[in-house]
Subunit: 755 residues, 2 copies
């Protein structure tokens, strides 16, 4: 854990420049669900940096790189693509490049205001000729209009200086994460006219088109407009360069308006006109108006999604940072987009869609947004069902069985390690679980009939073919899987996988009954499902209530993670892979993930027994782990551990627990953080009848307060030591179930609960 | 199975040219233990071909290519390097390139005479101008002087023609098996003088130097010597070109003498002088003399190593092909060389040393050569012991424990799949077993004390650290391994691995007792070994005598391989990897490999039970499998199955069973073929007291006859239906044990055995 940023309830602040900007570039990233970027400096920086501009859904199918090819491997691994760098402003003062890594930096300050979504920066440097330059910059990716971004960049000098500013739309970028060092773009066309610059390019192979436009204005003191410029069209860029003389004490302000559009949203032939109009409109609106609209959009989001924590400023900052990043990543408008593990903050992991979306993000969006957001995420999978069926066929399954990919952009599998791709099949379970979760929250049975059911049936068919009958055990078994705990590979009878497979079959049968005419299945198929439900292997450890992680687990040397020498943590950085696999240590919640999903199937005693057994063996080297543990610790009233796990998940990136924040943020696990407050501390559950609520207050906190969306009505919870106040802002009464008694929360009314 | 070549007792013959030369290039490969090559044509060929010239021990450490890096991975994968192409003769006749893929081929014949080791070729083509050209070529890599090769290439025309011949030493070659398409050579220097051409080059990174020289002579009708030439020095080649006019009916003969030397054998600065002298000497000797010396060297080898089979010409051809290829690959002179799975016949698999050497090749060389050959192979591992200790340290082992690499050139691991590299640890067992085998054959205890013991102790230490105590089983277990059956990965308690680990500890303890002062170990270490020997987990299947392949095996769906649809065989070409892993099918002998090694530890009943259980589940998709099965079937007197398995291993490449001969030959498995005759049909065993002998005669054979070397004495076996005749060519009497009674085979005498 290291101190990267200052603590503040609403802001992220950096006071020291440092040399390696990459951790800060991740933390200060901006995005608006459609496009986004790392917090690279506008001007040149020759220190350590990782350039990143990304357009949602734009990917490149990089040929798979493996040591030994295995049958069934996907042919490519989809890469999150570095797209056009639109923030680039090359600045020269008296012929010296403004480069914070080269100049004498007198002061540096960077701030992300999460309330308004504005990234700002202020610094003072001394040039080799001893003149002092102060820069003040702001920028944002508009949440109000997710096709627009803007920069304001002001330069003041203590003496007269010559300034050259060159404003770029620059496709001369490359991916750090590239298997064969290819350049991924083609057909790059720069355009320019009096008012604005444009560039359009296509991705190789996938032929996505991305168009950008920019208008760059320069003013001195708001009245002295600089209009003469020189345009340069490069092979991969367009730029517009301005020269001026700045008198001592004067301020030169550059404003840069941009628009980004892609062919995912618009017809290719319309892109140029649209992107040009957009940027003209943005300039007419002016930076201040755009900024106000943007900040108001954030205000709207915070109204629903904010969590206020009193008495614990670190926790407060952290939870807001998590919520802020989630909404920057996915705005819920487009069913062709999803939530990459690193969002718009880095390239790593490729692909956009993991089971993280279903297991972690959907519950977050379900409770903080209109239900259409979660629905779009579910329809994304529905739209990819055919590809999931083809994926299963490649592995030898038939008759419409579907295996959704472990990692994907377009529905095709693009992970290339067999132990993950072929074996981490529990993802199919999480996708079914998200359907169940969505329906439970929304009672949207129309969705279930129209979309969900087909997905469930194909998933159920997969499980029915994937199990086999063990003569030896007289049970159905599932062989050769990797569970959520990726520190075991190719194991038999992973309890979590077996359990969720069984549950999928049950839930699909139940859903089929609701729409008996929608999908007709053979009696033999249905009977097999029922037989599997009855006879699947789900062992306990020697007559205890503890479920067996997987076959062979008890052959391991069992000792708690606390006994691992501290200089060997995280073990994935210090131990060889075979040692990790043989060890008893669990990367992330696995049996416990199952107990979290299906908590009502088990007694509190059983849940406690399992936590007590597995938690000491868990090393939490997946960012998805501590949040689930936090929720379960809240459930069993272990406040101390719940809070410890909460802090670990909440400040994972801000405090860079795993020494990897420079690669980008752990976006999807941030949803887990949110869940550890709402489902953990507040003990909130949704079922068809209403809300269940059993809060605890961490002793470090005076109170906490949040809203949730329940069937598109906003409900506020204010949780204090002795009571909780609930406000229903909607038009429908809501049933509230608590530990002591049930209540009815009337429309537009307040309810105080003491129990 | 396809018919590629004609059946003949001593020759391999090809009558049809075909388009794809690659299968033939593999089958007709030449080598002499030091260097070798695929049977590429001397002249240009623009059809399908895989160029291959190789120098033993010369490799390139190609950076490892994997999808996701895992801790402990080796940094590179050693590649068998394509070295200088010295056979190249570009021939133009009347300006037409002599290219069999382009011209009208009237006849084509190629022959490998295994008795003499000569590759010859004869063909007739018609040029576009209707002139007919006949070519007759011969070449060899000298077994008499393993630094020399020679080609004789004769051209006859039915009409007067202009001929240009350009003779190359050509480093402008590339590896098909290359991770990043790199060129692996540098510092290439061509030299030329009146008499000869030279080229020297260094491998990148490893900086091995390879020097070649050539002398090219042209004669018409043996008297008309063509002496005017033109030399060309390219960046990567040197060539010498000749022009002449050939009258109708005349024959132009080109003779090319070459020498190849490497810095593995000589000082770098001496290479040029040595290689020049070598080629001058070769030319003085003349082609015919070199050829005679070469053929006599082969005759020597055949004297010890030949197997004569009467009544079965296919089996006869096959066994000679196997023996021929083994001796072409490894001549036993150099302890820095080893036996690559493809020898000098292809690039695939990289590296030179697998456990194949110890498990298959050493028993072959032990019985066909002077014991120094096997000893050199053992010393090769001894020389790499320190690297094996470092390899184990990388994986977390300590205190001198060694894990020998799965694949290596220089002692460092260079395989890059975790399930093989980290988990296929049974290779350590095979290395210990080879020491035991060598000592049993040779009673060379001096070797054991000086070299073997240190290797054994480090291997024993490895096993002692690699097991762990299972509280659940109250046994020592070995978790996370891949056995010889690579169609299971990351399994627990592979019976073969557990058994050989136990045996290694026993044999090391026994060996330590023989030399009590050589290596001192702590009492606690020795006690742990003894405790493991007592308490290692080695289960049978439900009270039968059948050993359990590995934990979880009985959870699989068990049905015989014969039920797999024929269009899904081999399964590794049709099934996805996860399906293979979940299936019950065994790639190669695994439990049975253990029963083969340790046959005296088990009753014949137990061996029979295990064969009966595992054989139907075995798909033999490793070339190493059928031979072991053949030996075991001989042992249990199932002659029919023994013969079926023999044919499968013996003609694997000649009949291209697995559709992969174009990549090269399965050199190491050829030793298994030999074993299936000697240890299988002949039932020959060696122990400290003498030879044990229990022959069977396959019903397809009239008789078979072979020699073995026993303690550096040659013993001949002539096995017929009713009797066997043994001849001892040595000076020492030998004890012979048979099924009925023991004999003494006196020096220089003959013994007829009927029983």
């Amino acid at each position: 854990m290291q101190k990267l940023v200052e603590v503040d309830p609403w802001k992220i602040k950096q006071n020291e420049l440092g040399f390696d900007q990459r951790p800060y570039e991740s933390i200060f990233s901006l995005g608006n669900g459609s496009f986004g970027q790392r917090a690279n400096f506008e001007e040149k920086y020759s220190g350590k940096t990782l350039l990143g501009n990304y357009s949602g859904g734009i990917y490149y199918p990089d040929p798979t790189k493996v040591g030994w090819w295995k049958n069934g491997y996907p042919e490519y691994f989809a890469k999150v693509l570095n797209s056009c760098n639109w923030i680039r402003l090359d600045v020269e003062v008296d012929g010296f490049s403004l480069d914070l890594s080269e100049l004498n930096v007198k002061s540096f300050y960077r701030e992300l205001d999460m309330k308004t979504g504005i990234l700002s920066r202020k610094f003072k440097v001394e040039l080799p000729n001893k003149k002092q330059i102060t820069v003040s910059a702001q920028r944002f990716c508009s949440m109000h209009n997710d096709e627009v971004g803007a920069i304001s960049y002001s330069i003041t000098s203590d003496q007269e200086v010559n300034i050259n500013i060159d404003s770029f739309l620059d496709f001369d970028i490359k991916n750090e994460d590239s298997n064969y060092e290819d350049y991924f773009w083609q057909n790059i066309e720069p355009h320019t006219n009096e008012e604005c610059d444009l560039i359009i390019a296509a991705t190789k192979k996938t032929n996505f088109w991305v168009a950008l436009s920019q208008i760059t204005t320069l003013n001195i003191k708001n009245d002295n407009f600089i209009s003469s410029y020189e345009s340069t069209k490069g092979d991969r860029f367009i730029s517009r360069s301005f020269d001026c003389v700045l008198e001592a004490g004067q301020t030169l302000t550059t404003k840069k308006y941009i628009s980004v559009l892609t062919s995912l949203k618009y017809d290719k032939e319309k892109l140029i006109d649209l992107v040009k109009n957009n940027v003209l409109q943005a300039k007419i609106n002016d930076f201040e108006k755009l900024k106000t609209d943007h900040s108001e959009a954030w205000q709207q989001i915070w109204e629903n999604a904010d969590i206020q924590i009193e008495g614990d400023i670190k926790a407060q900052q952290a939870i807001r940072f998590n919520i802020f990043q989630l909404y920057q990543t996915y705005n819920g408008k487009y069913s062709y987009l999803n939530i990459g593990p690193k969002g718009f903050t880095g390239e790593k992991y490729g692909g956009a869609t993991y089971w993280d979306t279903e297991a972690y993000c959907i519950p977050f969006y379900l409770k903080t947004s209109n239900s259409s957001v979660a629905k779009n995420l579910l329809i994304y999978r529905y739209n990819q069902l055919q590809k999931a069926i083809e994926n299963a066929e490649k592995l030898g399954f038939k008759n419409g069985a579907a295996l959704f990919p472990m990692v994907t952009m377009n529905g095709e599998e693009c992970h290339n390690e067999w132990e993950i791709t072929f074996e981490e099949i529990h993802r199919n379970g999480a996708i079914a679980y998200a359907i169940y979760n969505y329906v439970k929250h929304t009672i949207d049975y129309e969705y279930l009939e129209k979309y969900g059911l087909a997905v469930l049936v194909s998933i159920a068919k997969f499980w029915a073919q994937r199990v086999n009958w063990s003569e030896d055990k007289s049970k159905y078994v599932i062989l050769g899987v990797t569970g959520p705990n990726e520190y075991e590979n190719n194991v038999n009878n992973n309890w979590y996988t077996n359990y969720i497979a069984k549950w999928c079959l049950e839930y699909t049968l139940e859903s089929l009954k609701r729409f008996p005419k929608k999908i007709q299945l053979e009696e033999t198929e249905l009977n097999r499902w029922k037989d599997i439900i009855d006879k699947i292997y789900l062992p306990n450890i020697h007559g205890t209530g503890i479920f067996l992680q997987n076959d062979g687990f008890l052959d391991k040397e069992i000792f708690p993670a606390s006994k691992i020498p501290i200089n060997q943590r995280p073990i994935n950085q210090y131990w060889s892979w075979d040692k990790i696999l043989r060890s008893v240590f669990i990367k992330q919640a696995d049996v416990l993930q199952g107990l979290y999903f299906f908590e009502n199937h088990f007694s509190e005693k059983v849940i406690k027994e399992n936590i007590k057994y597995y938690e000491p063996l868990t090393v939490h080297e997946s960012s998805l782990s501590p949040s689930i543990h936090s929720i379960l610790f809240s459930k069993i009233n272990d406040h101390k551990k719940a809070y410890e796990m909460y802090l670990r998940t909440a400040r994972l990136d801000l405090d860079d627990y795993n020494h990897e924040v420079h690669e980008g943020l752990h976006i999807t696990s941030m949803a887990g953080t949110w869940l550890s407050v709402i489902e953990g501390f507040a003990g909130l559950r949704v079922n068809e009848k209403g809300l269940y609520f059993k809060p605890i207050l961490p002793e470090q906190w005076h109170s906490y307060c949040f809203n949730i969306m329940f069937r598109n009505q906003r409900v506020k919870f204010d949780i204090r030591k002795k009571s909780s106040v609930l406000i229903n802002y909607g038009d429908q009464a809501i049933n509230i179930f608590t530990n002591c008694k049930p209540y009815i929360l009337e429309p537009h009314s307040k309810l105080t609960i003491v129990c």
